[in-house]
């Protein structure tokens, strides 16, 4: 059973009105358990919409989305999704620990268990020392790590990430990427990752999905055959640069169209 299966998925906003927008069209995609899929494409190509369709934040106009063999709605109610957005979206009145505990609280986990789990997650993102800080006392990168810890706290089977490092500076960003790979290696979570950055997509992914705009559709899927585990040296490898070029050309073809 695939972790994720999309067939003929289409999303039309404001159907029938003069503001009708075909956001995505004819999407077919299979993602296996443990894969790391990056979705890349020009602005407005519908990559965020694709993520939202998978995460049951918006229903498809046509086609089927299946997550672990279930409808997205069922998957959401089963808490199969962890989500991370571009902004960390931490609740400013909660300390770091309490932010990570939030989903566990909602799921009705008892206090002791929740505290243990959140502490473990904070250790995973190496922020255990900041458990009692408030979000505003943390840098942007640290906040985003808290957001990742929170998304992983309830051990979702799929992590949906929408440009999570988009607002970070380049150095922090690369550190966060390595961090994310390490965490994923430890948890084995399936990841769907939306990004603007070609090096990010190539460095992180097992496959990179390139989308075109108007209508948003998948034009190419690039297999990333970089060796595991990946590290900062990976970024220096010849194969890394070849794959960058491949993805860039795929994108250029899309933008030129």
């Amino acid at each position: 059973m695939s972790a994720l299966s999309l067939r003929g998925v289409e999303k039309v906003f404001n159907p029938g009105s003069d503001q009708e927008v075909r956001a995505v069209h004819g999407i077919d995609l299979q993602v296996e358990k443990g894969e790391f899929i990056s979705v890349i494409g020009p602005s407005g190509c519908g990559k965020s919409t694709l993520l939202r369709l998978i995460g049951d934040l918006t229903p498809p106009s046509a086609g089927t989305v299946s997550v672990n063999g279930k409808t997205p709605a069922k998957a959401r109610l089963d808490r199969d999704y962890g989500m991370v957005f571009q902004s960390a979206t931490l609740l400013e009145w909660r300390r770091v620990q309490a932010n990570v505990e939030l989903p566990l609280e909602i799921m009705g986990m008892d206090a002791a268990e929740r505290s243990r789990q959140a502490a473990a997650m904070l250790e995973l993102v190496q922020l255990d020392r900041f458990a009692n800080h408030y979000p505003w006392q943390l840098s942007g990168g640290m906040q985003q790590r808290v957001a990742i810890a929170r998304a992983l706290a309830f051990k979702p089977s799929i992590l949906l990430m929408d440009e999570p490092f988009g607002a970070l500076d380049e150095m922090t960003r690369e550190r966060m990427q390595s961090e994310l790979l390490r965490i994923r290696a430890e948890t084995g979570t399936t990841v769907v990752f939306v990004t603007h950055s070609i090096p990010e997509a190539v460095f992180l992914s097992t496959r990179v999905v390139i989308m075109s705009s108007r209508p948003g559709t998948i034009t190419q899927v690039v297999d990333i055959d970089l060796p595991e585990p990946r590290s900062d040296e990976t970024r220096e490898e010849q194969r890394f640069f070849e794959l960058l070029t491949g993805v860039r050309e795929g994108l250029r073809a899309v933008e030129g169209s």
Binding site: G55, D56, L57, R76, L77, D78, R79, Y81, G82, M83, F85, S87, T89, L91, E92, W93, R94, L102, P103, E105, I106, M107, Y134, W136, F154, L160
Partner: protein, 301 residues
């Protein structure tokens, strides 16, 4: 200098400026015979002792017996203020609860908001002077204790700012926060209590400060038709009737009434300090509207 010291100093400074303006205007009017200097144009307010007693005469009146052989006026007024505050406090709590409830209802149901919001807004354009006697008559039929009726009049003024700002505050979380809650399959109640209500607290307190003063005004106004002999409303009524002969007592009761309002707001500020960390406090209601916040008109529309 600590912010608190600065706040107290600026309060005293403004008080001093007001006293100087009062006395200066009075001095000018006395000197010119009641006209603007160099003109024949009369001053809008007479400056004689009956219309504008000296500020110190007002303070002295507070320290003198309210009537021959009686208690100090200040004591009489403080007792009246305490009586009025009892109704106002209940009105404040009642109004805040209703306002909060309406905010929750509106954020939950667009239909309720569309249907009820115009009435909520209209309720505040009806003069409280017209509402109060009606409420008193109704309550009289129902045999409700009168000070509770006064509390209802007070709540009538207090609920509005709370409803508006609760709604604004409940809507303040980013869309992504709501989607996060959705991804956790949170129930509407969990979204309300874990996300929306905590997010609304900083918006709530500026409204509670307004509600605190409004509840005092409501209680004073409500006491008149409810015929409460022991509150500030009656004190102001009786001293207004005797204004020609003893204006300083009316001004003294107004002074005490405003001090009660300031004290009440002070209590709300204290609660805010205990509940809201400094980084989340909104200094005033205009800030609550915020650069990215919606202004009142938009919320209402």
């Amino acid at each position: 200098m600590s912010p608190n010291a600065r706040r107290i100093l600026s309060f005293l400074g403004i008080l001093a400026v007001l006293v100087v303006m009062w006395e200066g205007y009075k001095w000018m009017g006395t000197a010119t015979g009641g006209v603007w200097p160099g003109t024949g144009i009369g001053l809008p307010v007479r400056t004689n002792e009956r219309s504008m007693p000296h500020t110190w005469d007002i303070v002295i009146a507070l320290l003198r017996p309210a009537r021959r052989g009686g208690e100090m006026l200040l004591l009489v007024l403080l007792r009246a203020a305490l009586f009025t505050w009892r109704s106002a406090l209940l009105g404040f709590l009642l109004g805040s609860a209703v306002g909060f409830g309406l905010g929750v209802l509106f954020v939950r149901s667009a239909l309720a908001e569309r249907g009820l919001m115009p009435h909520v807004v209209a309720s505040q354009t009806v003069p409280i002077l017209a509402i109060a006697p009606i409420l008193v008559v109704w309550a009289g039929r129902l045999n409700v204790t009168r000070w509770l009726v006064v509390a209802v009049v007070s709540a009538y003024l207090a609920f509005f700012p709370v409803a508006i700002n609760t709604l604004r505050g409940l809507r303040s979380p980013d869309a992504s926060a709501s989607e996060l809650m959705r991804s956790y399959a949170a129930t509407p109640n969990q979204v309300l209590w874990k996300l929306q209500v905590p997010a609304a607290l900083p918006y709530l307190f500026p409204a509670l400060k307004i509600a605190a003063t409004a509840s005092i005004i409501g209680a004073i106004v409500g006491e008149l038709p409810a015929s409460m002999p022991d509150g500030l409303g009656r004190a102001i009524l009786n001293f207004a009737a005797a204004f020609s002969a003893a204006p300083e007592k009316l001004f003294a009761s107004i002074l005490v009434a405003s001090l009660v309002g300031i004290g009440f707001v002070g209590i709300v500020v204290l609660a805010e300090r205990l509940l809201i960390p400094p980084s989340r406090r909104l200094e005033d209601i205009s800030e609550a509207a915020g650069p990215r916040g919606r202004n009142l008109k938009e919320v209402v529309a």
